[in-house]
C-alpha cells in the first residue's frame, strides 16, 4: 500500500502514525481524509499527526491537514505535527503550515504540549 495509517492513544491524545506517501494516487489521500474526519466526528479533540515516516506528499495531503486543523479548531480541539522531514517538511514550509500548526521533533514534548501549562514539568 502507498500509505499505512495506524492509530494509537497516549492519555487523551490520539496519535496517527503515517508511513509511505499521501498523494492523490490510489485514493491514499482520500483514505487519510476519511480516517481523520472520522476521528474528529467521534470526539477526538487532541490529535498528533506523526509524519516521521511519511516520505512523500502532494497538495492533496496539504488540503487534508488544513481541513483537519480547521475542523479541530472549530470544535475547540488541537492538531499538532510530529517530525516532518525532507520533501514533506519543504511542502509544509512552503504553505507556512509549520508556523501555523505547532510542530515538534520529539514525541514526548509534543504530547506534553497538549496538557495545560500548569501541569507540565518544563519551566
Amino acid at each position: 500500500m502507498g500509505l499505512q495509517i495506524s492509530i494509537r492513544k497516549s492519555g487523551d491524545v490520539t496519535i496517527v502514525d503515517l508511513r509511505g506517501r499521501s498523494t492523490i494516487d490510489d485514493g491514499e489521500s482520500e483514505s487519510l481524509s476519511n480516517q481523520l474526519q472520522k476521528l474528529v466526528a467521534n470526539g477526538v479533540r487532541k490529535l498528533l499527526l506523526n509524519l516521521a515516516d511519511l516520505a512523500k506528499v502532494d497538495s492533496s495531503a496539504v488540503a487534508i491537514i488544513v481541513r483537519t486543523y480547521v475542523s479541530l479548531k472549530r470544535e475547540g480541539g488541537d492538531l499538532k505535527l510530529l517530525s516532518p522531514s525532507g520533501l514533506v517538511l519543504e511542502v509544509l514550509t512552503v504553505f507556512r503550515l509549520i508556523s501555523t500548526i505547532p510542530t515538534f521533533e520529539n514525541e514526548a514534548e509534543a504530547l506534553a504540549s497538549f496538557q495545560p501549562r500548569g501541569y507540565t514539568a518544563t519551566p
Partner: protein
Amino acid sequence: MTTHCSDGAAPATEKTALVVESGRDIDELLTSVLASEGWTIQRVVDNQHLLALAGAKPFDLIVTGRKTHLAEDVELLRKIRNARPHVRLIILTDKFTPGDVIAAMREGAFSYFSAPFDASELAEMVRAAMAEPCWDDGIEVLSGTPEWISLTARCDLATADRLVQFLHGVRDPSIPEAEKDQVILAFREILINAMEHGGHFDASQHVEISFIRARRAIACRVKDPGKGFSLEELRHAAAGNSPGDLFSHATVRDEKGMRPGGFGILLAKKLVDELIYNEKGNEVVLVKYLDPPKTPMI
C-alpha cells in the same frame, strides 16, 4: 482510439512475470511484491535469455536487470514489442544517458528506474503495472531531443505517475537534485489539475506536454483539452484566496461537494520561478531558473 490490453497472456488467475536478476535486494523486493498477489516469477540471468523466453511465450510483466545499459534494454524492448506490442516492461538500469530515457518512452516502456532509486517507488510501480488494465497508449512521444521533448499523456492518474517516474529517471548533473524535485513536484500538480479539471480524468482525452531544457532554465508547458478558466474566478482554489489566507476556498469546495484540495496551483507557484497561463486558461508554462554553470577560468 482502440486500446488492446494483452498479447494473449494468461487470464487473471495465472499471472507470470519474467525478471532479470538484479542482486539480492531488488530480487527480494520483486518477489515480495509479485508473490503477494499470487504471481509466478520466472528468473533469467541476462537479456539474451530474457529475449529467448519472451519470444517463446507471452508474459504479463517483464523487469530488466540493473547491470545492462539502458540503450541495450531499449533495443530489447523494441524486439519484444515487434512480437508482443502490448508487453509491460519496466527498465532498471545503472548505466544510462539522458537521451536513452526519451527512447525508453518512445518505445513504450511501462516505466524506467535509473540508479539510485527508491525501492518503495519501484514496488509501487510494479503494483501499478500489475493492476493497470490498459496502458500502452498512455504516453506518446511526438518529438524528442535532450533539450526539447513534446508528448501527449492520457488523462488518468496512472499515466501521470508513469510520466513523473520517467522524469525522476532523468539524471542531468547540471541540474541540482533538489531543484529537479521541485520542478517535478510542481509539474505533477499542474499535470493532475489539467487531467482532472481540463480532461475530467476521461481516458479518451489527452494533455499536451513539452519539456524544454535551456542553458539556465527548465520550462514545462502543459495544455489541457478543457475550456479553460480564469484565475480571478477560481474560488475553489487557494490561489484565488487573499494573500496569506489558506482557508477561504475550502468552504467553497465543501459547498460544491468537491474533495479536499485546491492547493495545487499555489504549491506549483511557490516551487518554480514563473507560472504563466494563456488567456483561455487551458495552457500553462512553468519556468525554473538555474544558477549559471561554473565555467573554468582561462
